[in-house]
């Protein structure tokens, strides 16, 4: 029992540190990459004993500044809700990662350990459910700040988030139809199957339209460019205007954590989770762990190396998807609000419904 409890705590610690580390790297990568893309130098001033680490030290300085910055409350604002809002922006993001597997199920000394905090049969619903709680962060922040603009900003952000939440849900139905399960762990295992023996059954291959719907919808949920109308850093007064110091930092941290978590969701559902193409473990191929290529070649690899490769592959996929989100952010201009609503309700919604109908038809004919 204590061992089980210890394992759970251990896994939570790994995931938590992973997300925080990812968010930390993102704060640096965002400044450096944006600088690169607009031909600037970017963060390069902060130094510890002359060591700058290409500006990484700047992120440390930012964090320190945020902790020591004065944290004020608008005088007529609602004290309690004002304090609670950032928590609601951050906490559900961390919760959602619990159902995502970050590696295969491993066996250590006869003990079976799935590298997933929560093996949940309704995993995908759980993801959406906690994603929907994040709305309260912006809604309460807008209301509690005692400011007309933050209220309108909060409303705008909420309407945007709920509109795109629908698209998220609808686009996930496609992969669920294909893999026949709501559990991300099962979906991950299923993605080591192959079409006609050689094309990996990754979500992006069997459900390309769902991927193309999910990615922008997910970016709209994170409220980042080209969907950054709720915040718009320097131009738009958004829901977080009356926040400063660590409370603002929590919104900011929640947003970066959301990028990491969304990259993980995308990797899990559409990029084969922790699977490496043609890599099988001993259990899947009668004790012959390693690469089994479709043309018959076999490259044996030790069992522990298979596990290591898979965890590594998950990490690499998450990093690539994080980079992709940054790249999109600095490439495309912002939507106008009416365009934003039109895209979700009048363009993505019919496509998503059609995708479900067609996928269902194909799944049925194959079965």
């Amino acid at each position: 029992m204590w061992l089980d409890l210890g394992l759970i705590v251990g896994k939570i610690a790994v995931v938590f540190i992973g997300i925080i580390a990812g968010a930390f790297v993102l704060t640096w990568a965002e400044r450096k990459q944006s600088a690169l893309m607009s031909d600037r130098i970017g963060a390069n001033r902060a130094a510890i004993l002359g060591i700058k680490l290409m500006g990484i030290v700047n992120s440390v300085a930012d964090a320190l500044k945020m902790i020591f910055k004065e944290d004020f409350l608008p005088p007529k604002g609602l004290r309690f809700l004002h304090a609670a809002a950032p928590v609601f922006a951050m906490f559900p993001v961390f919760m959602t990662f619990a159902v995502l597997p970050f590696g295969p199920t491993i066996t250590v000394g006869g003990k079976v350990i799935p590298l997933q905090i929560l093996q949940l049969d309704v995993g995908m619903l759980y993801l959406l459910a906690f994603g929907s709680i994040a709305v309260y962060g912006v809604l309460l922040a807008g209301w509690a700040s005692n400011n007309k603009y933050t209220l309108i900003g909060g409303m705008r952000a909420t309407a945007q988030m709920i509109s795109y939440e629908l698209i998220l849900g609808l686009s996930l139905i496609g992969p669920i139809l294909v893999y026949g399960s709501l559990d991300p762990g099962v979906m991950a295992t299923a993605q080591n199957g192959y079409l006609w023996g050689w094309i990996p059954k990754w979500g992006i291959i069997v459900q390309p339209i769902a991927f193309l719907l999910f990615l922008p919808a997910a970016m709209a949920e994170t409220k980042r460019c080209p969907f950054d109308l709720p915040e718009g850093e320097s131009e738009i007064i958004g829901f977080a205007t009356e926040y400063s110091g660590m409370r603002w930092g929590m919104f900011f941290l929640g947003e970066f954590a959301e990028i990491v978590v969304l990259a993980a969701v995308l990797a899990t559902v559409f990029l084969g989770s922790y699977q490496v193409p043609f890599l099988f473990d001993a259990g899947e191929k009668l004790g012959m762990a390693g690469f089994h290529f479709p043309w018959g070649a076999y490259l044996p690899i030790a069992e522990w190396a298979v596990v290591a490769l898979r965890i590594l592959s998950f990490g690499v996929k998450v990093l690539i998807l994080m980079w992709l989100q940054m790249q999109i952010r600095w490439t495309y201009p912002r939507f106008r609000y009416d365009q934003l609503m039109r895209v979700s309700w009048r363009e993505m919604m019919p496509i998503a419904l059609a995708n479900i109908a067609v996928t269902a038809l194909i799944v049925m004919l194959v079965a």
Binding site: I67, K69, P74, T150, T158, I173, I176, L353, A360, M364
Partner: protein, 103 residues
């Protein structure tokens, strides 16, 4: 750990440098409410899709037709709000009190 040195100016609400007038808790445009209403209906639909998606490959054509009927009925709803212009953010002048939210 943060210091706390409030002053009247620092604490005043930021409204582009103007003095705040009136209460911020104003009535805003009903359009947001309408979007939330439509969202709720389709959220329930998405929820029903999940148990169906898990079962489809096992139950075949029958299940497909069931859900087709279910979705078609709701698509009628979508077509209705679409056709009546509830999904348009910018309406023709005169049909709405001002284009900006929160008037």
């Amino acid at each position: 750990m943060a210091p706390n040195r409030p002053s009247a100016v620092k604490l005043s609400t930021y409204e582009c440098g103007e003095e705040p007038i009136g209460s911020p808790w104003i009535r805003f445009n009903t359009r947001f409410y309408v979007i939330a209403l439509i969202f709720l209906v389709f959220d329930v639909e998405v929820l029903f899709l999940f148990p169906w998606a898990v079962n489809l490959s096992r139950m075949g054509l029958f299940a497909w037709i069931d859900m087709a009927v279910f979705i078609t009925i709701l698509v009628v709803g979508l077509a209705y709000v679409w056709g009546r212009g509830d999904l348009d953010w910018v309406r023709p002048k005169g049909s709405e009190r001002g284009a900006a939210a929160g008037k």
